[in-house]
């Protein structure tokens, strides 16, 4: 019931804006893959292709003072939270103009000013931090919420359970946002979770749980709104599960030999959140092409910016170790 009441009906103009953001993320990720394969981007990269609606829907619901924590698959979250593509790309290139000044890389994107307090590349590693940020909000009586992104694999980690328990016990304003993409790297959901419905995890803690379709940006936005309203009201944390799909390997270079080819192609053909939103909006081809061009232009610009960025000076090696 509450779900229906809080569901907002978005104007198509807003949904179009979401589509533009999702296209930006999609093109960004494609170009990152390309540049990585060419050896321009060091380290290793995890793409969020297939999960764009989750990042955009969730981040669009946040208020300016809210904060997020992210994961090793962090590009979409950073872009959705408003970090310019230039700053994210420059970070992937290891440049000082990057959003972590070249000290983080793909798995450690930060933009504290915009409320992204960081991505943990240790699975589930930021859940306690999100609870702690929420504790600070509670102690200072600020109407702010912390939202922690993590995947289905993280729900088996010890910290997930400790943080869920602590947050509910202390009624902290934190949304535990699980992107269930059904893979923990190469391990399928059925091999790592003893329950089919992840939202049941919340039952053990007496925590409010919400389920949503992670391929439908409007549904994600609405579910996140409901979760945020609950937490912001002082009623405590929410466990939000978005059912989504990883329409890409675990990381660039992963041959995905563990994944059934037919299932993969079928899922890609039927579960693309961008295709779904385009159909929902009944967007004319011209308008869609225009949005795609805008995204492409922004990513081309970001790559040029990153390529011409400044390498950190080895003389600054010790910067930021201690405050």
């Amino acid at each position: 019931m509450a779900k229906l009441e809080s569901r907002t009906s978005l104007l198509s103009g807003e949904l179009e804006r979401f589509l533009g953001k999702m296209l930006l993320i999609r093109h960004f990720e494609r170009v990152v893959e390309d540049r990585y394969r060419d050896g321009e981007i060091p380290g290793f990269v995890h793409l969020a292709i297939g999960q764009e609606a989750v990042a955009v829907g969730a981040c669009s619901a946040l208020e300016p003072g809210d904060v997020i924590t992210s994961t090793h698959r962090s590009h979409a979250h950073a872009l959705a939270k408003g970090t310019p593509a230039r700053a994210v790309m420059a970070e992937l290139y290891g440049k000082t103009e990057g959003c972590s000044h070249g000290r983080g890389g793909s798995m450690h994107l930060y933009d504290v000013e915009r409320g992204n307090i960081g991505s943990s590349a240790v699975v589930g590693g930021a859940l306690g931090i999100a609870a702690g940020a929420a504790l600070a909000f509670k102690l200072r009586a600020e109407p702010r919420v912390a939202l922690a992104f993590f995947g289905d694999g993280a729900t088996n980690s010890g910290l997930f359970h400790e943080a869920m328990n602590l947050a509910q016990l202390w009624k902290l304003p934190v949304v535990f946002f699980c992107e269930n993409n059904r893979w923990a790297e190469s391990t399928p959901f059925a091999q790592h979770s003893p329950i089919a419905d992840l939202s049941e995890r919340a039952l053990a803690y007496g925590m409010k749980a919400i389920k949503t379709d992670g391929q439908d940006v409007e549904a994600v936005r609405s579910a996140t709104n409901e979760a945020l309203a609950h937490s912001r009201s002082g009623a405590g944390p929410v466990f939000l599960v978005a059912e989504t799909y990883r329409l890409t390997p675990h990381n660039v270079g992963d041959p995905q030999e563990y994944r059934d080819r037919a299932e993969y192609e079928q899922t890609r053909a039927t579960q693309d959140p961008i295709v779904k939103l385009r159909e929902k909006l009944r967007l004319p081809d011209e308008r869609f092409a225009e949005l795609e061009r805008e995204a492409e232009t922004a990513v081309v610009d970001a790559v040029e910016f990153a390529r011409h960025g400044t390498d950190p000076d080895p003389r600054d090696l010790f910067d930021y170790v201690y405050a």
Binding site: R103, G104, G125, L139, Y320
Partner: protein, 334 residues
């Protein structure tokens, strides 16, 4: 109570620093297991619940990892939390959060974040607490860039260093020793903050420098008395902060005495003392008249049986033997 201050135990000195910070600053709060009504397993937080209430003296479930994470998160958002970890052995449960997050959030963010979090803990041998409640773990953390490690040996240092730890903008691991809690010292009414990274010369001497931490400072002072009656003048230096380390104070002392003994209660082999010995040989080799002597626990889990525990852990006798070895004298009576 004397007019010019108060005689405080090490336990009370720790409590005093926390309470003063919490009175002065709403951003300071403490959380940990059994710290509220119970006053903490070692009674360090006794009566703090009454003064500050349950929101700021937060009794916590047995979840060291989430508690440490929550401390990091609250610190990143600008608060100055104190987390009490009941025994330093239990840092193992929070290791991931300490090493991958507390130490690195500032670095990985390119300087956007600070983690002004203090984790207080205690432990140590001497009461048959056995292998999971008495080991010394401070040496595990000194090699993690981004963390600071403090280990006071006196009430004055505990109070002044804890204040500075709370107000440091980095994550500080603050080690207390269970055998020091009842040690008393006359302290001035006004709290004197002691900067992190500054050693203290606990006793001046001419012939041998003993660099000792925690309870071994007191063992070294006793050993120095004994050596004094043998005509050996011993200087005792307490680094107080292990990370960052006051290298200059240690080197200045060794350059004066030309001999060095390092002593801690943690295991000797692969211990923090090895770093001290390396520092001395790298920076003061030409001043040394004898090899650096190392005193530390045997390389075993901490034993339960009192006789075994005593055999494993160094006390004044072992420090005295090392001093005498350093000056070329035998202590076996032959």
């Amino acid at each position: 109570m004397p007019e010019n201050g108060t005689r405080l135990s090490y336990r009370e000195a720790v409590r005093d620093a926390m309470s003063r910070a919490m009175r002065a600053d709403p951003d300071v709060f403490i959380m940990g297991q059994d710290i509220a009504e119970h006053g903490g397993s070692q009674k360090v937080t006794l009566d703090m619940l009454e003064e500050f209430g349950p929101e700021r003296v937060r009794n916590a479930p047995i979840s060291e990892m989430a508690l440490t994470g929550a401390g990091i998160g609250a610190a990143m958002l600008g608060m100055r939390p104190i987390v009490e970890i009941m025994y330093e052995d239990f840092f193992t449960l929070a290791m991931e959060q300490l090493v991958n997050h507390a130490a690195k959030e500032r670095y990985m963010s390119g300087g956007q974040l600070k983690v002004p979090l203090t984790l207080r803990t205690q432990g140590g041998a001497g009461w048959s607490s056995a292998a999971q409640h008495g080991q010394q773990t401070e040496g595990w953390f000194v090699g993690v860039p981004g963390l600071k490690v403090v280990y006071p040996s006196t009430p004055r240092d505990a109070r002044g260093l804890l204040w500075s730890s709370i107000y440091d903008d980095n994550c500080v691991l603050f080690f207390e020793h269970v055998q020091l809690y009842n040690l008393r010292e006359q302290l001035p009414e006004e709290l004197e903050p002691i900067p992190l990274g500054k050693a203290r010369v606990a006793r001046e001497g001419e012939d041998v420098t003993v660099v000792a931490i925690g309870p071994l400072v007191h063992e070294a002072l006793a050993a120095a008395d004994q050596a004094g009656s043998d005509g050996i003048s011993v200087e005792v230096v307490d680094p107080r902060t292990l990370q960052p380390l006051d290298e200059e104070a240690i080197l200045a002392s060794v350059r004066k005495t030309n001999r060095c003994v390092v002593a801690h209660e943690a295991v000797r082999k692969m211990g923090f003392g090895a770093e001290l010995a390396a520092l001395v040989q790298e920076q003061a080799f030409d001043w040394l008249d004898a090899p650096v002597e190392r005193v530390g626990a045997a390389f075993t889990p901490l034993p339960f049986a009192p006789v075994l525990e005593r055999a494993a852990v160094p006390r004044r006798e072992e420090v005295y033997a090392a001093i005498m070895h350093s000056v070329g004298r035998r202590t076996d009576g032959e």
